[in-house]
């Protein structure tokens, strides 16, 4: 009886060591770069899964047709900042498709992406865009029409923490920009506005999905500040009979950018395919897939076709209003930045 136990322990030990050794040995296999087959790794952020699932199929077919080469695209999804850190620390991405330029800038700073990545593709290297909208409960019981309604008495606002969620930084900046325009560019007034706004936030979730759950499943809050694509998806998934979308008078143009990771593609010899992969996002087919997944297309012909889906509102860009991501990040979200001050007592 005990012999069996002993034998079992010994066998499993030897076996697991063997597995461990082979596992570590297999870590060094290279992505196959023979001419007939090619493998790309697209490191992306969370809500793009369906988009790229469809797009990858379309691109594989297009590429096969064009070059005869078989391409498989592997996907990695996660929080935008975390994904960026993973690429910096050695995740072998061929392309990155993230939520904000700041996260790609960070990779560039480490030398893995060449400078000037943002001008490599059209529209600031953002093939599709989105904006920030307000999701309210059906019938809009609190009568929310614009940003300034969010700080009315008795209104509770749900938005993720911009410090932990890259996507939520757009939410914050959209509110800030609105306040700036309302107060003729007075920074202090804008700060007061966002401070008041966050006093109306009862729960600060770490990510967009957490915030949506809090709003939808837990029934907390009167307004959810969300990306348009996620708001449209929520309506589709959770039923338009429960919620409706309110477009504020103005908002920010959210530009989730894409880039080729130069160091990695040169090492793996996948540059040609990686560049074509991102370029094809701008094609009619790529743009249609983006629109089908609730992202705003940038190609005029596709834009025209989907103009009823995406309401036309006044949109400002980060570059024009905030002088780019590096500056916005430093002023608002760094340690001791404006967002930090909002929550530090005595400031």
């Amino acid at each position: 009886m005990k012999k069996g136990l002993r034998k079992g322990i010994l066998i499993s030990l030897v076996f697991s060591l063997a597995v461990a050794v082979t596992a570590c040995g297999s870590g060094d296999k290279e992505a196959g770069s023979d001419s007939k087959k090619i493998e790309l790794l697209n490191v992306s952020y969370d809500p793009t899964r369906e988009l790229y699932e469809n797009y990858n199929k379309a691109f594989a077919a297009y590429w096969k047709n064009k070059t005869g080469q078989e391409v498989t695209i592997k996907q990695s999804h996660g929080g935008s900042g975390k994904q960026s850190r993973a690429v910096i620390d050695g995740l072998n991405a061929d392309v990155v498709t993230l939520a904000l330029g700041y996260d790609i800038d960070a990779i560039q700073k480490e030398g893995q992406i060449n400078e000037g990545w943002q001008s490599k593709f059209e529209h600031n290297s953002s093939p599709y865009t989105s904006t920030i909208v307000l999701l309210v409960r059906k019938g809009n019981p609190k009568g929310i029409k614009d940003w300034n309604d969010l700080i009315k008495d008795g209104v509770e606002v749900i938005t993720p923490n911009p410090e932990t969620s890259g996507g939520a930084r757009w939410n914050y900046l959209a509110a800030w920009d609105y306040a700036l325009h309302q107060n003729n560019g007075d920074q202090d007034k804008a700060k007061e506005f966002v401070k008041k706004l966050f006093e109306h936030v009862p729960v600060l979730d770490t990510g967009a999905r957490g915030a949506t759950t809090t709003f939808v499943e837990r029934g907390i809050g009167d307004v959810l500040i969300a990306w348009e694509n996620e708001a449209l998806l929520s309506l589709k998934e959770l039923g338009p009979d429960k919620f409706e979308i309110v477009y504020p008078s103005e908002s920010i143009l959210a530009e989730p950018p894409v880039a080729v990771v130069d160091k990695n593609v040169d090492k793996k010899g996948t540059r040609e395919a990686a560049e074509a992969y991102l370029q094809y996002l701008y094609s009619e087919e790529g743009q249609t897939i983006a629109a089908e997944n609730f992202y705003r297309p940038t190609l005029e012909s596709v834009k025209e076709k989907y103009k009823d889906e995406f309401q036309d509102i006044k949109l400002y860009t980060i570059d024009d209003e905030f002088g780019g991501w590096a500056k916005a990040q430093k002023e608002h979200f760094s340690e001791g930045g404006i967002f930090d001050q909002i929550y530090t007592p005595g400031q």
Binding site: R85, P202, G219, E335
Partner: protein, 277 residues
């Protein structure tokens, strides 16, 4: 087996081998990577360290983390003793299922645990809706964090007490009983002292785990800065802005404090063992 080292250590063999292996493995898996964290050139200067350590938001988050972890570990110790006792001493239908359920908090990914607990304790949840008329709020308050940490920590206590209770010799209890001691007194004066070391271990483990826990807590805590923001969350938000140094600083302080706490419990345990003999 060499007995040279053993001879001056007592008669048992294997001291060199086992201690050597222990230290080697400990160094490879724990100490070297940890020192990478401490001596990493991520630009952590003393000023930066001090600045982070004395930031009011960071201090508030430590308070939340330590108080909730301590409260949860304390409740877990009491409940865990009850569960272990029942599992070891009694037979009843469904006992093996009961026994198995104890480990499930470990198997469930922490994020899932967090989402489920929030679903239960939110104002529209199964328990939350019952508590709301009484004016008790659980989700998005420190109470919610405590409950999440209790869920995470309960297996530690049960599983450290259980084997010791199982091996507890009956003769001492018997002797006490024949001497006319009441059951409750036997428990208090004979059983409990023997269970004190594993209970303390269980408490310390649940506590340490609670301090570092992130996944389950962020869903139920509400993450309000200064109120329900836990320290591991601040580590995450610092990493999110590529502030490795700041994240490391928060982590080091967290680590130091829990290390000292664990050391204190280990010493206390030794002392208890000594004074028991």
């Amino acid at each position: 087996m060499k007995t040279a080292t053993a001879s001056n250590r007592g008669v048992l063999p294997g001291f060199g081998l086992t201690l050597g292996y222990t230290i080697l493995y400990l160094s490879l898996v724990v100490l070297i990577p940890l020192s990478a964290l401490l001596f990493n050139s991520t630009g952590l200067t003393w000023e930066k360290f001090w600045g982070v350590a004395t930031d009011p938001r960071v201090i508030a988050s430590y308070r939340v983390s330590f108080l909730t972890a301590a409260a949860a570990a304390l409740v877990d110790t009491v409940l865990g003793l009850l569960l272990a006792w029942v599992l070891v001493r009694y037979t009843f239908p469904g006992k093996s299922i009961f026994d198995a359920l104890v480990d499930l908090p470990f198997a469930l990914p922490t994020a899932v645990a967090g989402v489920s607990l929030t679903a239960i304790y939110a104002n529209n949840g199964w328990i939350g809706s019952l508590l709301e008329p009484l004016g008790i709020k659980v989700a998005f308050t420190p109470l919610g964090i405590i409950i999440a940490l209790m869920f995470i920590g309960i297996p530690f206590v049960v599983r450290t007490v259980q084997p010791v209770l199982q091996e507890l010799e009956a003769d001492v209890e018997e002797a006490a009983a024949t001497l006319g001691s009441s059951r409750l007194r036997t428990f208090g004066s004979v059983i409990l002292p023997q269970l004190a070391p594993p209970l303390l271990t269980g408490f310390a483990l649940a506590f340490a785990r609670g301090i570092g826990e992130y996944g389950s807590v962020v869903f139920i805590s509400g993450n309000m800065p200064m109120k329900t923001e836990i320290a591991p969350l601040l580590i995450m938000s610092k990493l999110e802005r590529f502030d490795y140094a700041g994240a490391t600083a928060v982590a080091i302080i967290l680590l130091l404090i829990s290390f000292l706490l664990l050391l204190a419990t280990n010493l206390l345990q030794r002392w208890m063992r000594k004074s028991a003999r």
